[in-house]
């Protein structure tokens, strides 16, 4: 039987590293997706996700409800993303003072055009819809897990998810018409 997040989190706290690895396997994809909303670049998002898990490990002792590990983790991800954005802002401010001819590090664009299209489309969705789609598709199409991560009731989750699909289809259609 598959262990719950809470069981794994408690085991990790006792020093069971494989339990933390299992938590990583379950949640890393979603965390990368959340980070991609900030970084626009999958590699940077994956790096940021590593930071999220490192931070989560060091703070694991402060997790009050181990069963809410995923929701707690997404909270850390948002915090890490906020810090990353602030860091980028500072970089950009510094770049303004660079001597002529010195280029700031360019924001890397995603090389996979499909992912880039999806990212742009997702960016246009309300946050809850975006997160619902990400959680569902990145949690092994497991609606129960996905809604738990987001803290939504089953009916709300289904409604939000369907709405997200509808909006996404509309965005794709508009993009096709324009092209």
């Amino acid at each position: 039987m598959k262990e719950t997040d809470g069981v794994l989190a408690r085991a990790a706290l006792r020093g069971d590293r494989s339990a933390f690895a299992e938590l990583y396997d379950r949640r890393a994809r979603l965390i990368r997706a959340i980070c991609l909303d900030t970084t626009y670049d999958l590699n940077s998002a994956a790096d940021l996700a590593q930071e999220v898990f490192l931070r989560a490990y060091s703070k694991l002792g402060s997790l009050r409800e181990p069963e809410s590990f995923a929701a707690w983790l997404t909270g850390i991800a948002r915090q890490v993303c906020r810090e990353w954005r602030r860091g980028r802002l500072r970089d950009r401010q510094m770049a303004c003072t660079l001597p002529k001819g010195v280029e700031p590090a360019a924001r890397q664009r995603e090389t996979d055009p499909r992912l880039e299209t999806l990212r742009e489309a997702l960016a246009k969705l309300p946050e809850r819809e975006r997160l619902s789609l990400q959680a569902f598709y990145l949690q092994g199409l497991d609606a129960e897990q996905a809604r738990t991560v987001l803290g939504l009731s089953p009916s709300t989750f289904y409604r939000v998810l369907a709405k997200a699909r509808e909006h996404l289809a509309a965005i794709y259609r508009r993009a096709e018409v324009r092209s």
Binding site: A12, L13, R14, G15, R17, F20, A21, Y24, D25, A28, R29, L30, R32, A33, L36, L42, N43, A45, A46, A49, Q50, F53, L54, R55, Y57, S58, K59, L60, G61, S62, G87, D112, R114, L115, L118, L133, Q134, F136, Y137, L138, L141, A143, Y158, L161, A162, K163, R165, E166, L168, A169, Y172
Partner: protein
Amino acid sequence: MTCPDAKTWDLLSMNLLDKDRAESFRQHSLECERCYTAWQEASRQHTELLDTFQAFDCDHDQRRDQLMAMLPHAAPISKGESNIVLGPKWLGGIAMTLRQQKTRWAAAALLPAACILLMFFLMAGEKIAFADVLQKIRQAKTMTCDFVTTTTVVEGELPEQLTKEPTRGTISMYFDGDTRAVLHDFELLGTKSRFLSLGDKTYVWTGDEVRVLNNSAGVNQNSAGVNQHQATEDWLSRLLDVRESPDRNLGEQSINGRRAVGFEIAGWKLGIGTRPTKGSAASTDSDSLALVWVDIEQDLPIRLEIEQKMVMPNLTATIHNQWDNIKWNVALDPDDFRPPAEEDIAKDAIIQLPAMDEVAFVDGMRAWLESKDKAEAGIDVMKKKAKEKGEELPTQMSTMFERAALDAGYPERLDMSWLMVTFSSRATLGKLGEMLSEMKPIPEDLNEEDRAKLISARAQESALAAAQATTEPSLKAGAVAGFYMKLANEQRDPEYFGATVKPGDAEAILLKWKLDDGRYRVIYGDLRAETVDSAD
């Protein structure tokens, strides 16, 4: 059957409808062309999303392995949360222990290593490997290590017991919630000692005695600790300089059976020693060196080495301090980091740090001059007493002490080590002279045993009194040395001429330094100070 809406087809494509409903809709789609198209479109979009989201696998297995390798070996700590944000307060506390007669040597050696760790705590790393290390240190909650301090005499002589065996001990740090504690345990000359830096206080146990070094916030920023003259922001900017500077990468090496990479950093960049100045240097500790060895798997330091020169009258020594077997995030007992009970601390054992500014410098110099006569008298008494017994003072005393005591001018140098020894030597000699002259002769009718007991008691009493007498002068010495170091580190081009200036000379410059507006501040031989337009 009524045709379902687009949302239903979306949910069906995601397999989110119950079996019966799903089956009925599928049947319907086979009979209704419009619904069949909608169903196909929803399924196509679902498949496309599924494919696209696979990109988030992103070398998942490899990244998981990387992450697991980066995790601390120890289990996470089970309560509280904190980052290490350790101000220079405890460092100042440790610096203060330099002024403790009994523990001065060990403290002097501990201080640079403490500086290195402090650097890490405050440093904000971002993209380079070294910065990753710093980030992890900032997240650490506990640390333990062994330390070994070795003193090597380069020139001159030092009592054998100080150089024969290295000083060994352990260091533990505990950072959780509001607790910021650093504990040093070591044995020096057979006496067990312990420093506990906690908040703005450092508790020092030497044998059964507990002293408190009070480094309260109001005093801290300008007090006389070696490295506490800079505010946190200054530390951060200096650390960023370190990160950008061409510090030598020492490559890979096996440290205690683990693969590690080394970094070499000039000590002064980390606040160990004085920054080289443009003018004539008054201290020689600018060539201190720090080596940091980082475990490749953990990205955390496993060894620190600091080498620092110490200069004293008739003696030059190198202190090599090594923190080894550093372990991070290990389980520690919080009770070990609790301060002693109030009733265990004597009221007169609470010591307040002095300021570190021009006024303190002048005050220190004045105290130095005033201490000469007492020290000289002390030497005379000691020589007289020795002569009465048909003995001579040990060579050690007649060289280092005499030179310190009988120097008629200002201190030759402003090294922290030089000033500590000379200031405290003068105080010790003065106090011992006072005690010896007041001491009654040993009654001749005492038997051997009682005689030995009395001599031993008197020796202990003298040693304690001498140690207490050095406290205040040592604080003043720290303020003088610290002020010069502050000027050098702020690049104010300080120049000191103590070796040639005669006390009372109103024309000769004793110390000068540059001000923000380009003018110079000058202290003359008569200890008068003024601001002048030109450095000449």
